[in-house]
Subunit: 254 residues, 2 copies
């Protein structure tokens, strides 16, 4: 099972939008995928139309008892795409998880023994707190969404330092799969400058795929549907399909 | 000193942009203002062109030693506007602050005894972790920026519950000054629907001022300048000036 975490402590850069749509296009391409919603806001869950049945279910229950994790996995209406949904209790778990940085790694190990997922896509909250540290410790690679805005630029170096610390202490096999430019409006000067800046600095680490700012992408969660189901021929859907292809080829090359 | 915290655990909704520009327009209106950057990403600091001198300075040092807080306050190039800048060390402080929910309240008490600020504007990170709990415990009122997007809608109820818990346990005088609609593009259906939804639900709590999506607002931090200095006659500047007037009149009515 390839474990990919979407990380960036800067808020609102497209972590959830990328997690939901990448997971869906990987499933459309024939792969079996588990989406892990690790954010108490549960945006990835609602973005796929999944409202967890009870409060004490999904990712929160799995973290408390990794052996029972498989029973916490729920199906979605999209073939080959399953989910560990988030519940608000997850916010309360951060205190316990501060002392258990490998809780999520144990959950994914337990799921991997019993189920046959080819990919796990992890969507953490916007912070470098216990939930995100768990994501960094459990993942074998990172996708870093970066909004084409000034504030988003400042945070990347800080993030790469934190993942370096996790690599040294908790998870030596953690790599960076790529940096993804999101919400890029090429008509806006600042967006073009930020993209150029990121490509000059991080070179081949930056995906060729660029996700444009596109209203349909922000509308699709209100219908509980990924973009590939809600508006398949729009620029946002085409970009995320291309991203899935690029992720598959980068994973093969690892 | 009126203490106003910008809170919303949803990322990228305009907390920092509102903190910087509200602080600047309050200062332009003749009030003395302290901007407290409580986010380790230090976006509010860089948005005003302030790069903290040493790592161990600003908000982090003030939290460690509230009695010395006044010496951590720095000036900005804008009259009547001072700042407690953030440094990356702040990220390390969250472990200590988990046990000290009133550390920031002590800092602002100490500053209030020695300096004569009429307003303190607090900019926390996107989470309900120790730094944000400190902000809720220290503030006497909240401004909640809400992006006109689907995911942003889901988080408001959760946020108001958390501030209710803080009101009961740590800070009985905490009130909500208002909910501010941000990045509203009235040409987009979803944005109009979300705004209508929020006004129907929260009624008079929602500020009349609406901040439109406007590129100049996202460009101004790259020049280290608030919008009122960078592009004073644009729609974003006019909106934040109106917000300052509305905040002043709501504060008087308290
Ligand atoms: N390419 C895009 N074009 C237009 N809107 C987008 C795009 N990508 C994301 N959005 C919208 O922008 C907002 C922020 O995106 P999203 O919630 O995915 O970011 P996030 O990084 O997961 O946020 P958080 O830090 O709160 O977890 C959402 O309302 C989403 O619908
Ligand atoms: N009205 C607006 N129009 C256009 N862009 C905006 C507007 N308000 C904020 N932005 C831009 O949107 C991004 C998010 O805003 P900002 O950083 O202020 O949000 P935040 O809530 O403080 O984010 P975080 O959750 O990371 O602290 C920034 O790049 C900012 O420049
Ligand atoms: Mg998210
Ligand atoms: Mg901010």
């Amino acid at each position: 099972m390839k474990k990919i975490a979407l990380v960036n402590q800067k808020g609102g850069v497209g972590k959830t939008t990328t997690a939901v749509n990448l997971a869906h296009f990987l499933a459309m391409a024939g792969h079996t995928v588990l989406l892990v919603d690790l954010d108490p806001q549960a945006n990835a869950s609602s973005g796929l139309g999944v409202r967890p049945a009870e409060a004490d279910s999904g990712t929160y229950r799995a973290l408390l008892d990794p052996q029972s994790a498989t029973s916490c996995v729920e199906t979605t209406s999209y073939p080959r795409l399953s989910i560990l949904p988030a519940t608000p209790d997850l916010a309360g778990a951060t205190i316990d998880l501060a002392r258990e940085p490998l809780a999520l790694a144990r959950v994914l190990e337990s799921v991997d023994q019993k189920r046959d997922f080819e990919y796990a896509i992890i969507d953490p909250p916007p912070s470098l707190g216990p939930l995100s540290i768990n994501a960094l410790a459990a993942a074998d690679s990172l996708v870093v969404p970066v909004q084409a805005e000034y504030y988003a630029l400042e945070g990347i170096a800080h993030l790469l330092q934190s993942s370096q610390r996790v690599r040294q202490s908790l998870n030596p096999s953690l790599g960076t799969l790529g940096i993804l430019m999101t919400m890029v409006d090429r008509r806006v000067n600042l967006a073009r400058q930020v993209e150029q800046n990121v490509r000059d600095h991080f070179r081949h680490l930056v995906f060729r795929t660029v996700v444009p700012r596109n209203t349909k992408l922000s509308e699709s969660p209100s219908f509980g549907a990924p973009i590939g189901a809600y508006a398949p021929r729009t620029a946002g859907a085409i970009a995320y399909q291309q991203l899935a292809e690029e992720v598959i080829s980068r994973v093969k090359a690892l």
